[in-house]
Symmetry: C2
Subunit: 461 residues, 2 copies
C-alpha cells in the first residue's frame, strides 16, 4: 500500500536538514526573551517577530498579535476539511540568575559533546524553544516533500508562559472562534525519566504568591531597638514555618479539598514505570525524599500538592555583617495543586494564615502570581492512541501515559475556554536543567522529536 | 581663683573654630571607609591616614599601625605625671544599602536645616566620625589656648568596629604596655533620648552568626522536584522560627544563664528617666513593644538579651516569579547579651539547635561574626562623678547614668586585656539613623560635644 503521507521521505528530509535546523534554533536561542524581566521586553518581541517570519516563510498566514503584555504569534495553514489541530509552544524563557553558575553565556548557544551525547546548551534550549522548533522543522520537511503544509493547522506561540501567562486567557476568549480546534498538541513536557517517549495526561496546577511584610518606616539598629521593635524577617519566617506541619502536611484549612487518589489504572501504569525516588534525587546530589509520608515517589511529584518557598529576602545580605532590623522582608511562595483543588480558595486560606500571624505593628501586602488548577486529559480520544503508536514507532519502545509535576495552565485553559483536550507531548529529559544554569536539550531529542511530530501528523491525517 | 585650665578661653576658641571644624569633618566623611566590604579596603586605609595626619598636625606622636585587617591609628601626647587617659573612637562606617533610600549621596556630606535644628548628614556623621572629631576638636582648641596638648593622653582609633573588630584584641594584647591607662573614654554612644547628657555604664554584648543551608547541588524546578526534594529555604525558616518560643522567650538550652535582674539602684534611676516605649517606637512608625512580657521598655533594650534575624536570602528575589527550589539559603542572625552570658556557650547552643533542625539531605555551614560579652562599669571611680558634673555644666541639666542596647565590645576588651574601666560618653541622638539611610549628627551635638570634652579634660586635669 502506498503511503499517501510519504512519511519516509519526510523523515529523510528531516535527517538531511538537521544541520541547518540547528543553526535556526541557535539563532532563536540567541534572543534573550526573558518574559518576567521588564528589561527584556524588547527582546521578547524580537523573539516573536523572528518566529513569525519563520512561519510566514513556510507558507503560514502568520502574525504577531499584541496583548497588554507580551505578544502572541498565531499562524494558520490553509483551510481544509480535516479535524483542526492546534499546536502550542512558548517562545519566552526563564531568567538566567545566578549567572556565575553558567559554564557559558546563556544566550550564546553551542553544540557540545557530553558523555551522555551531543546537546545544545543555552537558556530556552529545552524550555521551550528547542521543543517548539521540533514541530516547526517537521512542518518544514512536510512542506518540502508535499509542496504544501497540512491543512487545518493552527499554531499558537505564547511569550508569557514563564511569567504567569497574564494575557493568555483573555486572548483565548477574544479569539475563541479562530483558535478552537479538535484537539491541541502542547509541546512543553518531557520524556519519561528513562528516555521512554511519553504523553503527559495530568499536570499539577500552580498558585504563586508574593508576600511583603513591613514594620518600622526605616531600617533600625538592633542595638537601639532590638527587643522592642518588631522584626519583619522574624514575622515572615514565623508565618512561613507554620504552613507545613507534621509529616509535611499543609495546615491551611480546606487545603486538601479536591485532592484525589490515583485511579487503579494509573496506579498500575505508574508502578510499571519502576520509578526510583532515591536514584532520581541522586541526580542532583540528594538522597532522601521529603514530603508527606506514605506516598510513592511518583505520587509525590505528579499527584500530591505541595507548598514551596521559592525566594526570600530581607535585611543585610552582603559581605560581612550588619546588625540591622530591616524595615521589610519579602518572600515568593507557590503551591502545586492536584485534582480539583481550587486555587482561589487556597490563595485566600494562605493569605488568612499569614494575616493571622502578623502582629499589630506590621503590615502585609500580597501580590498574586498566577493561579491555575490541575489538569487531567480524557485519553479515550483516539488521537491519543494514534500519537502513542507513532511515538512508539519512532523511539523503538512503548510510549507511556505519564503525569507531570509542573504546571502547564494552558491545558486547563484550552479545556475551559475552547472546550478541547490536549495531548502533551515533548522530548525533554530530566537532566535538561530547565529553569537552572546550564540548560541544555539533547540533539537526539531535537532530531527524533521532529521525526516524531512528522509521524504524528501522518497518523492524524 | 584663677582657672589654670583656662576653660573659658578653650570654649570660646571652640566656638570661633566651629565653621572650620565642620569643614574638617566633611573631609573625613567623604572617605567611604566601609570596613565590612572588601571593595572599600583602600578607603578604610585612606581614612586612617587622614586621621593620623590631623593628629600629627596637632603635635601628637601619631602613627597608622598595620593589623591583619584594617589599621589602627595610635597617638600619644607628651609623657607627664598625671593619671593617663585613653580615648577611643572608630573611623570605619556601616554599609550604605539600600542606596535608593538615601536622600543624598551618603559620602557627600552637607549641612542641612531641619525642623529639629541643623544637622550634618552622611554615613558616619554620628557613628562614629562626628563623635570622634568632638574630642579631636577639643584638643585642637586646648592646644591653641595652652600652647601644648594635655600630657599623658593616648588616642586609639579603630577601623573595624562595624565589622566585628577581629584585630582589636590581638592589637591590645601586643601593645598592652603602650596602651594601658588609668581609665578609657569611649565616644560611641548617645545622649539619653530626651537630649539629657549621659554616661553609659552598661552595654549589651553581641554574638553574630551566619548560616548557610545547602540541599541539591543545583537549583531545581519545583514542578519536577517539588514534593520530593528538600528546600533549603524551608529548612532554614523552620530552624529560625523555633529559636524563639512563647512570649518571646529564647528556647536555646542554658540561654538565660548569667542574665541578671537590675540592681535596685539602677531600677530606680532608670524609672526616673520616664522612658515611654510607645513614644520611642512611634518615632519609627511602630506602636507596640514586642519581646518578653513583664519587662519595662528600658529593661528590654538595655538589660534583656535578644535574638534577631538581621538578613536572609535564598531563591529567586527579582522581579516577577520563578518556581525554583534553590540549592542554598542563607541568614545572618545575632544575639544581644546581658549580665554574664557566655557568647561561646550560646554560639554552640545555637549551632546545635540549627543542626538538629537540618534533615539528612541538607548540609549547614556556620560563620561566626564576632562574640563579645556584656559590659558593666564600676561607677565608684571618681572620674565618673567628675565627668558627670562637667557634662551637667555644659548642657545645663543633670547628666544621667544609663544603659545601652548596642554592643561596644571594646569596653569589655579594655577591662579584660588592659585592666581599665571605661567612661562611655557620646552625643548621639535616637533619631540619628545610625546604620540606616540618611544618617545625620546634630550640629548641637558636635559643637557642645567638643565643649563637653574640653570641660571633662579640665575636670580630670
Amino acid at each position: 500500500m502506498p503511503d499517501s503521507t510519504r512519511i519516509d521521505e519526510v523523515l529523510s528530509t528531516l535527517d538531511a536538514e538537521l544541520p541547518r535546523a540547528l543553526e535556526r534554533l541557535k539563532d532563536f536561542l540567541r534572543i534573550p526573551s526573558i518574559s518576567t524581566d521588564p528589561a527584556h521586553r524588547a527582546d521578547v518581541r524580537r523573539a516573536a517577530e523572528w518566529l513569525c517570519a519563520e512561519l510566514a516563510g513556510l507558507g503560514f498566514d502568520a502574525s504577531v498579535r499584541d496583548t497588554p503584555g507580551h505578544p502572541m504569534v498565531v499562524a494558520h495553514s490553509a483551510q481544509g476539511d480535516r479535524r483542526p489541530l492546534l499546536f502550542y509552544g512558548h517562545y519566552d524563557v526563564q531568567p538566567v540568575d545566578p549567572l556565575d553558575l553558567w559554564d557559558r553565556p546563556p544566550f550564546e548557544p553551542e553544540i557540545e559533546d557530553t558523555p551522555q551525547g551531543r546537546v545544545i546548551r543555552g537558556r530556552g534550549a529545552a524550555d521551550d524553544k528547542g521543543q517548539l522548533m521540533t514541530f516547526v522543522e517537521a512542518l518544514r520537511a512536510w512542506k518540502a516533500v508535499h509542496g504544501a503544509l497540512p491543512s487545518d493547522l493552527v499554531l499558537l506561540f505564547e511569550g508569557e508562559e514563564e511569567s504567569g501567562s497574564p494575557s493568555l486567557q483573555p486572548f483565548l476568549r477574544e479569539n475563541a472562534e479562530e483558535l478552537r480546534a479538535g484537539i491541541a498538541m502542547i509541546c512543553d513536557t518531557g520524556m519519561y525519566s528513562d528516555g521512554r517517549p511519553a504523553i503527559t495526561t495530568q499536570l499539577r496546577g500552580l498558585l504563586g504568591e508574593e508576600i511583603v511584610v513591613r514594620a518600622a518606616d526605616r531600617d533600625l539598629h538592633s542595638g537601639s531597638f532590638g527587643g522592642l521593635a518588631a522584626n519583619p524577617i522574624q514575622v515572615l519566617v514565623d508565618a512561613l514555618a507554620t504552613v507545613k506541619g507534621d509529616q509535611g502536611r499543609i495546615t491551611l484549612p480546606g487545603f486538601y479539598d479536591g485532592v484525589e487518589d490515583l485511579t487503579d489504572e494509573l496506579r498500575t501504569d505508574w508502578a510499571a514505570l519502576g520509578f526510583d525516588a532515591e536514584a532520581f534525587l541522586a541526580q542532583v546530589g540528594l538522597r532522601r525524599p521529603v514530603g508527606e509520608s506514605g506516598r510513592t515517589g511518583l505520587e509525590m511529584v505528579w499527584n500530591r500538592p505541595t507548598f514551596e518557598i521559592n525566594g526570600i529576602t530581607g535585611g543585610y545580605t552582603g559581605e560581612g555583617f550588619k546588625t540591622v532590623l530591616p524595615a521589610e522582608a519579602r518572600a515568593k511562595v507557590s503551591f502545586r495543586l492536584t485534582g480539583t483543588q481550587d486555587p482561589a480558595a487556597i490563595r485566600e486560606a494562605f493569605r488568612a494564615h499569614v494575616r493571622a500571624a502578623i502582629p499589630e505593628d506590621c503590615r502585609v501586602e500580597f501580590h498574586g502570581h498566577g493561579a491555575s488548577p490541575a489538569s487531567r486529559m480524557d485519553i479515550a480520544d483516539p488521537a491519543f492512541a494514534a500519537a502513542k503508536q507513532a511515538l512508539s514507532q519512532e523511539w523503538g519502545r512503548e510510549a507511556a501515559y505519564i503525569g507531570a509535576g509542573g504546571s502547564i495552565p494552558i491545558a486547563g485553559d484550552f479545556k475551559q475556554i475552547l472546550g478541547m483536550d490536549s495531548m502533551l507531548i515533548g522530548f525533554g529529559r530530566d537532566d535538561d536543567r530547565i529553569h537552572s544554569p546550564n540548560e541544555k536539550y539533547d540533539l537526539d531529542s531535537f532530531a527524533k522529536g521532529a521525526r516524531s511530530w512528522a509521524r504524528i501528523l501522518a497518523a492524524l491525517t
